[in-house]
């Protein structure tokens, strides 16, 4: 008998946390998304789908959806390609590769808030080094964080820099697990270096690419809050307000609980869809070795 309940006891601590702090909030958000919570009366008025309707007719929200797609899309594409090339470079057996690896991986250890602060400094119009180099080499002289479209570029610099090492680490591991016979065979067949990269290596690591695209989407959409808050605060105007920043403003600055709950439900559904895609499509392909 004791033996029978033992595994359940082992699960209790984990499930307490998951139920109270993930599933309960998810249901709380769903429930509250159907109400309007008045600030003073502490009254709840059932409004049905009104919160969702007002979200999708809200110009600012639709803008945030659009900005999130662009910001995440650009960050993910740039980060995936750059990290693949840097991983190819790091995979070469040349002297000093261990030091290069350490330096290139380093941003993995720092936070998104730190990434925001570092790039806010580098792009500062008075003291920033990158700002200076941009002026010298490209003739760009601007207030990076406070003008369009440079504010968006600034965020993308910071988030690409921050997400690169994670992707490189995985690509490098994938490259190192490709059997050398495969590459040797292609050399004998006379495939040129470029062709080998695109026709043989890139398809071979595609399961890792799939995994990294998912992780980068999550990172660029959700974790980038800190970068935005430190660098642009969603501005100028609402120019760099993404979905999470908008949620933060509505939920905590303006205290629109019903509206914010509806946004939370939408974000949660987006996350669930991503998770389902990963498990149904990726799981079969990721373990290719």
């Amino acid at each position: 008998m004791r033996r029978k309940i033992f595994p359940y006891l082992l699960l209790i601590p984990t499930y307490l946390v998951i139920v109270f702090f993930i599933y309960a909030p998810a249901f709380d958000a769903l429930y509250n998304s159907f109400f309007r919570v008045s600030v003073f009366g502490r009254r709840k008025i059932f409004v049905g789908f009104q919160n969702y309707l007002s979200l999708f007719t809200d110009k600012d929200y639709l803008y945030a959806v659009n900005f999130t797609l662009v910001y995440t899309g650009v960050t993910v594409v740039v980060s995936i390609f750059l990290s693949f090339f840097l991983a190819l470079l790091l995979d070469q057996k040349v002297p000093g590769s261990r030091i290069y690896r350490t330096l290139i991986f380093a941003p993995y250890a720092v936070s998104h808030a730190v990434a925001g602060a570092l790039w806010g400094f580098l792009l500062n119009p008075v003291v920033g080094h990158v700002n200076y180099l941009m002026r010298i080499f490209f003739g760009i002289q601007t207030h990076w964080l406070t003008t369009t479209p440079y504010a968006a570029y600034s965020l993308i610099f910071a988030s690409v820099w921050k997400t690169l090492p994670f992707n490189i680490i995985f690509y490098l591991a994938a490259l190192q697990s490709i059997p050398t016979e495969v590459l040797e065979a292609s050399i004998i067949d006379g495939a040129s270096s470029w062709k080998r990269v695109w026709k043989i290596i890139f398809p071979l690591v595609s399961p890792i690419t799939f995994y990294l695209v998912i992780m980068s989407i999550i990172s660029a959409t959700f974790q980038s809050f800190a970068i935005i808050d430190v660098m642009t605060k969603g501005g100028p105007g609402i120019y760099t307000t993404n979905l999470v920043y908008k949620l933060f403003l509505d939920g905590f600055r303006f205290q629109k609980i019903g509206l914010a709950s509806a946004q939370n439900v939408i974000l949660f559904i987006v996350m669930m869809v991503i998770t389902i895609i990963y498990f149904s499509y990726g799981q079969r392909r990721v373990h290719y070795q």
Partner: protein, 279 residues
């Protein structure tokens, strides 16, 4: 002859590309460290300077004056250590259940848990999570900053995967010797899992140390805030934009995890790739 010249040229090209990219990737961190130990004349010189001259620690002292920085460092450390320990305990217990036991409902509960694998609840569900935590009366406390993060599907998954690789013979032998399942777990399974536990520990610590949005929202008083939040506070307080001070705060926020990473890079990389999942 021609082949070896080609090889040398190739190596040189790779070296140049590698040196350039490592410098570019590391430059932001390096410049922050340099600026944090330089006086304002250096920081504000135009064109910007790269090579440091002397040591100027006033920036750090200033940062400690603007915000209760010592307390914030303590908060960050305390929160990160508790979250790390919690995740290791809950993760290894539930991982043990899924790896070594057959029980009713194991499959369905597994799915319930793994649906949450990628969900950073402190961001995706921030408004309702905040409501629940305030209903518990936890705002402005360490409870709010630790308890919701004491378990994660990632850690369960990682430990379960690892426990599965340990030969069943150990368990059978322990059973014959009269060991209870708990004794087998603490005396044999955990000691055999030291490397994976160490790997999970540093990844969990890094994640916890680097949290931003959640601590910012649940800690209203300055003395409950964390170093990550302090960066932004100092940035907003320094109307003169004294970047030396801001960079000093940034360096304090990044140094612990960076040192951890430099010291244990191989372990970091191995467990990150091994887990196949983040955070």
């Amino acid at each position: 002859m021609r082949k070896s010249t080609k090889r040398i040229i190739k190596t040189i090209v790779f070296e140049i590309l590698l040196i350039t990219s490592s410098l570019l990737m590391f430059a932001p961190i390096l410049l922050a460290i340099i600026m944090s130990i330089q006086p304002p004349e250096f920081v504000f010189s135009y064109p910007p300077r790269f090579l440091p001259r002397g040591l100027f620690l006033q920036n750090y002292l200033e940062a400690f004056k603007i915000v209760p920085f010592a307390r914030m460092i303590f908060n960050s450390a305390l929160i990160s250590i508790f979250i790390t320990l919690g995740k290791l305990v809950t993760g290894s217990l539930s991982g043990y259940a899924y790896a070594n036991f057959v029980f009713r409902g194991s499959k369905i509960s597994f799915y319930v848990l793994f649906a949450t694998l990628f969900i950073p609840a402190e961001i995706v569900l921030i408004v309702p999570l905040f409501r629940i935590v305030s209903r518990f009366g936890w705002t402005n406390t360490y409870w709010a900053m630790t308890v919701p993060f004491l378990a994660s599907a990632t850690n369960t998954f990682l430990m379960q995967q690892h426990f599965k690789t340990i030969p069943k013979d150990f368990e059978d032998a322990a059973k014959i010797d009269g060991a209870t399942p708990m004794q087998y777990f603490t005396k044999i399974l955990l000691p055999l899992s030291r490397p994976i536990i160490a790997g999970a520990a540093i990844i969990n610590f890094t994640y916890a140390w680097n949290m931003y949005l959640w601590p910012m929202i649940v800690a209203m008083e300055d003395r409950m805030k964390t170093v990550q939040v302090a960066i932004n506070m100092i940035m907003n307080a320094e109307s003169s934009n004294n970047w030396g001070i801001i960079m000093a705060a940034t360096v304090v926020a990044l140094l612990p995890t960076l040192i951890l990473f430099f010291a244990l890079q191989d372990l970091f990389v191995k467990s990150l790739v091994g887990s196949g999942v983040k955070g």
